[in-house]
Each structure stands twice: as structure tokens, then as C-alpha cells.
Symmetry: C2
Subunit: 378 residues, 2 copies
């Protein structure tokens, strides 16, 4: 069986990007590389819908989020962290590791955080230095109310840090219009690259906060990066081949057009949801993100068994459930380099896996439901 | 003119490695990736000549050095940092950024740090938590006395951190035999990969120190990495394509044999030095490293002009001089994927550039000197 990848990261890398990255190594202190870097900088600002600096780091997305904590916060700062899944919890833990006083706004996994809960926490902690929110909580497939959260901190000193690792390039997140101070993403998601690069935008408000922020930093010192990246260089050796790949993937996204990129993701998401519902399964997320569909399996079915059957019998990587939702859900990603037929393929494979497991599904029914959605062409 | 790369990093990536990395993306939570990861782990221990854990991070070498400072040290710890060039100075600055009390053992750029100076600093600071030393100071081409430094801390509580970024895989650095606690390297050097991965070995003594070390850490939390990497996973998404490339480059090094890898570097270094000396130039480093030749230009010549002529007329990247030795030296790297004819090519190009600049060199004289060395076959 051919290998097929439908996980929320890494996502498949287009052949054009693979070939671009397979070119002989280029030194980064050269006009040729600086040209590529500048293309990437401008392209990222386009994708972020921002005039802010968008910086690039050789790290995973976790490293980029850490660079914001290290650069813009101080030990003992109060931070309001919105958590309803594994990634929100990670940022809360990270801020604690730096000595911050973390106020968690906790919501059950799979549910959307009520805006009123975020407001209450901010009202109780008017001195909060930052609000953390995850746009697309990959562990559950929930889309969080970033737009409303942005309104809550508008005009205040509180910085808004948004984890958009599986959201940027999936739906429109207009950084400047919303007033997002820090928006983090990673290369191996909608940007269709291998893992190893991470990105974040930084507002003037965040740069101002850095003047008094005291957390220790060196590799993740964003001021140093800004000063270098303005000149199309990086403070430390960049992941050259990935940067070259990025220029190519941004070119692909521009060719498609930003609105079309968003529409494609929305279409993939709708088809996937129709498919799993036709198979008698549920959508786990209260407000689902267009990047990933978390499928709630009916009682008597084991989501982990479906995940494993796809892995072992069909050589396909989707995602299982993590922590306490293990077995209760499985997750199909559709962010990045996917098309209509990929969705039909994964749906057909899920049907086959269910048949193998003797779960009660009608073969072809999920595929047909997805097909009907996909035939509603714009 | 074809592009040619002879810098101390990134270094050229062999075609076999480029092709391995150009394969379709693979998910990291799969048995297939875990097998590759395990091959890398075992291969790195072979290259490091160690039974210690060798950990892998998605970062540049600077990030790996920081992970050691973040994981094994506390603010206010005293650290003895040996500095005689840009990289030694970087680690001193980094430790200061974390609040450490840094005692610098400073030596002039190009000179080798006298072991007696290191001993004196350690004697004066018996409570020093760590000694930092750069095996190959890329900014000057100096090879530092790591073996003697290791003897000075043997049996003491002081941890030995070695920056072997342009040394590991160039000459023999037997980690366990020397008792090195932390040995850092990067992917884009002798390992013949693109930048984006970094590695470090960790001794039991360092792990013990971590139990009480208080610096903040999350992305660079090495205990978390150890616990994951034992199971052939990483704490955060790994740079998958680079890891796949690493398995291939380690395979190439094993095919060649470790002693042959070292002998090759020694041979390249000797030929390069003979070449530049025949051209009336000097070797800048008092004790030159086999990874890079820093060439001291005669008075009346501008090293920066030679660097730029190679760049602009011959499409070749070597390295210029940094900071206060800019203009006084240029640097030819020969670590990683180079062979005899590459050395003759760069020598010939230097001769051409000097002729272009009307510097007094006899065409072919450097090439002939290098040829004579290369013809002394073992």
C-alpha cells in the first residue's frame, strides 16, 4: 500500500517544494539567499495580513511560542491562558516554567471556551501582561473565538498571543485588523513544508513591552532576530533548505489566491464532516476548525482501533485521540496540500477499516456524502 | 560560473542526502520514522565515541548550546568561559543572559589559549559549575586544547561543555575517554546536512547536575527530550526531512570509516595550508584546526577583497574575516563533503582572484604545492 499522510502536521509536501529543497546547498550570507529570504518575509506578511514584522526561527512552533514568552514577559507576570486541549495546556505550562503567574480559563476538551469566561478572567486580572489563546486546538479540532478575544484586550496593555499553528493559511486571520500582538505558526501545517521552521508576527505594542521584559533569552531573543531579519539575515544559521522551500510554497499559495486557499479548506472540512456523519459518527468539536475533523466514534467502537487499522492495513497516518480522549475520537486533517480526491480516499479507507473491525458502517455511504458536498461547485 | 560552497557551514550536501530528503513527507509518530531515528541515535553515539545519550534538537548549534545552559545551570552559577574568537564570546554572552557569573579566560584572536590560563581560572574559581571551551574556533581557525582542558576538570564537580560544532567528525574527539559532559555539534558541518538540526551528548554527571539546576526551560528541556528520545520520539515535532538526511549522511560516514574521515580532513587541511603558504600568505591560527584554514593576507592585500572577488567573479562562497580581523584574513573551509580536486579548485580560484586584484601571486604555484601534498598518498 502506498504511504498516505493525513495528520495535522507534518502535512504532505508538494513535489515542487520537495524539488526546490533538493537543490545543492546555498550559503546564507549571500545575495542569492537574501533575495529568497526577502521573498519569504514579504510573502509571510501577505499570509498574515499584517504590516508587522514576521520573524522566522529554526525551531518547531513550540520554540516560536517560547520566543514570545522569553522576549515579551518577565517572571511573576500574570498571564491569562485559555485552555481546552493539549496545546492550550502546553502554553500554560511553558509560562509557568518561566515563573509566570498563570490564570487558566479551562473548558472541557471538545467544547469552545465561552467568551464570557475569558472576559471574567481578564476583569479579575486587569494587570495581566498577556492573554494566550489557541485559534485551532488540534487535539480536539475546536476553533476558538479569537476575534472576540481580540476585542476584549483592544486598547489595553494586555498582549494577545495567538497560537495559529494549525489555523494560519486555513481561514482568514487578519492580524492587523484584529490587533493580534503575536501570531505563531509552524512550517509543517498549511504552509506545506517539512517541520523545522516556525514563524511569529510581532506588533509595536509587543516590541514596546520587550523594553522592560526580563525573562532570560538568547537563541530566542526576538529583538536580535528583528535587527538581523530586516537585513534579510538571521541571528543564527537559518534552516536554509526549508527557507528555500518556503519561498516555493508561498508562491503556490499566491498562485491559488488567499481567498481560494481559505475556500478550499472550508470545502475539505465540510466534505469530511458530511462523510463521517453519514457513517453514523459525530463531530467532536463544538465549533469545528476547518483544519481538522475530530471524529467522535459511537459507543462500541474504538477510535484508536480505527487509527491503528488505517496505519497497519492501509499505510495511512491520520491522528488518534490524545490523553483522556484516546479511543473516543480519531482525527482527520485537511490542512495544507489536499484535494477533493484525498478526502474521498481517506473516507473510503475509514469505511474499509470499520468493515475490518466489524463496526456497523454501510460501505460507500460516507464517500457518497462527501461526493455530494464536493459536487456543489462554487 | 557554477556555484561552489567552501564555507565553515553550511557545507555542501551530498547528492545521496539531498535525494533522501526529497522523499515524500513521513509522519514522525510512525514505526518507519522511529526506525530512522534509532539509526541516527546509534550512529551519533558512534560518531561521538560515547555511551552517553546524544540528543537531537530542531535548532541551530547555538540552540543546542543554550539547551545545556538552560538545563544544567542556574542563575548566579559561576562559569569559566574560554574565549579567543567569536564563538567562545557567544557562549560567554549566553551564560550572562541567563544570569551566570562568567569568568572569561581571554586570549587574542588567532592564538591558542594556554592551558595554564585555564588552570589558573579554575583554581581561582573552584566552585565553577561549568567550563566552556570551543574545540574549533571557526572565526579564526584555531584548534583549542580540549584534551588538556578535560584533564583539568576530571574528578571535579565542574561540568565540561565543548562546542565541537566545526570539530566533531573532523578529528577524533572521544567523548567518553576525555570525560566530556556536553559536546555540541550542528547538522550543517562535518555531518554534511542542511542547517536546522543540532546535537549534544550528555554525561551522567550533567544529568545529576540537572536535578538542582534552576534556569527556566521548556523547548530546551533536555530531560524531557531524553525521556522521549529513548523511545525514538522527540518532545516536539522533529525536523523530519533533516533526520532522514542524517541517517543517510551517517551511513556515508560509516562506509568511509571514522579513521578515514579524520585522515581525509587532515589531508585537505595540509594541502590547503601548503597552497596558501606557497602563495606567500600565512596561516592565521597558532594551532590550526583541520576543519578550516584561516589565511592571513600579506600587508598590502585585503582579505575582504579576495572574499568578494571569489563571490562576485567566481560564484564561490568562502568566508571572510569577522569583527576586528575583517580584511586581515579570509577562511577556506574543508570540513564535510570535499575531495582533493575541490581543494585544487579553490586554490586556483584564489590565485585568479589575486591576479584580478593585481596582488603579487605566481599563478599555479599554490595549486602545485597542494598537488604535491595530495600526491603523498598513504
Amino acid at each position: 500500500m502506498k504511504y498516505r499522510l493525513l495528520s495535522p502536521g507534518p502535512t504532505p509536501v508538494p513535489e515542487r517544494v520537495l524539488l526546490a529543497m533538493a537543490q545543492p546547498m546555498l550559503h546564507h550570507r549571500t545575495p542569492a539567499f537574501e533575495k529568497v529570504f526577502e521573498e519569504c518575509r514579504v510573502g509571510l506578511q501577505w499570509l498574515y495580513q499584517t504590516k508587522n514584522d514576521v520573524l522566522m526561527l529554526a525551531s518547531s512552533g513550540t520554540g516560536a511560542f517560547e520566543s514570545a514568552i522569553a522576549s515579551f514577559l518577565s517572571p511573576t507576570d500574570t498571564v491569562v491562558a485559555v485552555t481546552n486541549g493539549k496545546f492550550g495546556e502546553r502554553w500554560a505550562k511553558m509560562a509557568k516554567a518561566y515563573g509566570c503567574n498563570v490564570v487558566e480559563v479551562k473548558t472541557e476538551w471538545g467544547k469552545t471556551t465561552p467568551v464570557a469566561d475569558i472576559k471574567a478572567a481578564l476583569d479579575k486580572n486587569p494587570g495581566a501582561k498577556a492573554l494566550f489563546i489557541v485559534a485551532s486546538e488540534s487535539s480536539t479540532g475546536v476553533r476558538q473565538p479569537v476575534e472576540e478575544a481580540a476585542k476584549l484586550v483592544k486598547g489595553k496593555d494586555t498582549l494577545l498571543f495567538v497560537d495559529a499553528i494549525t489555523a494560519l493559511g486555513v481561514w482568514s486571520i487578519p492580524t492587523d485588523e484584529l490587533g493580534i500582538d503575536v501570531l505563531v505558526t509552524g512550517s509543517q501545517k498549511a504552509l506545506m513544508l517539512p517541520p523545522g521552521l516556525a514563524f511569529l508576527s510581532v506588533s509595536d505594542k509587543a516590541w514596546k513591552a520587550m523594553e522592560t521584559a526580563k525573562n532570560p533569552r538568547f537563541y530566542f531573543d526576538l529583538r536580535r532576530e528583528r535587527d538581523n531579519q530586516k537585513k534579510n539575515q538571521t541571528a543564527f544559521t537559518p534552516a536554509v533548505s526549508l527557507v528555500i522551500g518556503l519561498a516555493e510554497s508561498l508562491k503556490m499559495m499566491k498562485e491559488e489566491g488567499l481567498q481560494n486557499v481559505f475556500a478550499r479548506h472550508e470545502r475539505m472540512a465540510r466534505a469530511t464532516r458530511a462523510a463521517v456523519q453519514a457513517l453514523g459518527m459525530g463531530v467532536f468539536a463544538e465549533t469545528p476548525a476547518q483544519s481538522i475533523t475530530s471524529v467522535a466514534v459511537p459507543s462500541g467502537c474504538d477510535g484508536e482501533a480505527i487509527y491503528k487499522a488505517l496505519r497497519d492495513k492501509y499505510n495511512m497516518t491520520i491522528a488518534g485521540g490524545q490523553d483522556h480522549v484516546k479511543g473516543k475520537i480519531f482525527r482527520i486533517a485537511h490542512l495544507g496540500y489536499y484535494d477533493d480526491l484525498d478526502i474521498l480516499t481517506v473516507t473510503a479507507a475509514v469505511e474499509m477499516a470499520c468493515a475490518d473491525l466489524k463496526y456497523p458502517v454501510e460501505l460507500g455511504k460516507g464517500v457518497a456524502a462527501a461526493q455530494r458536498v464536493l459536487l456543489e461547485r462554487p
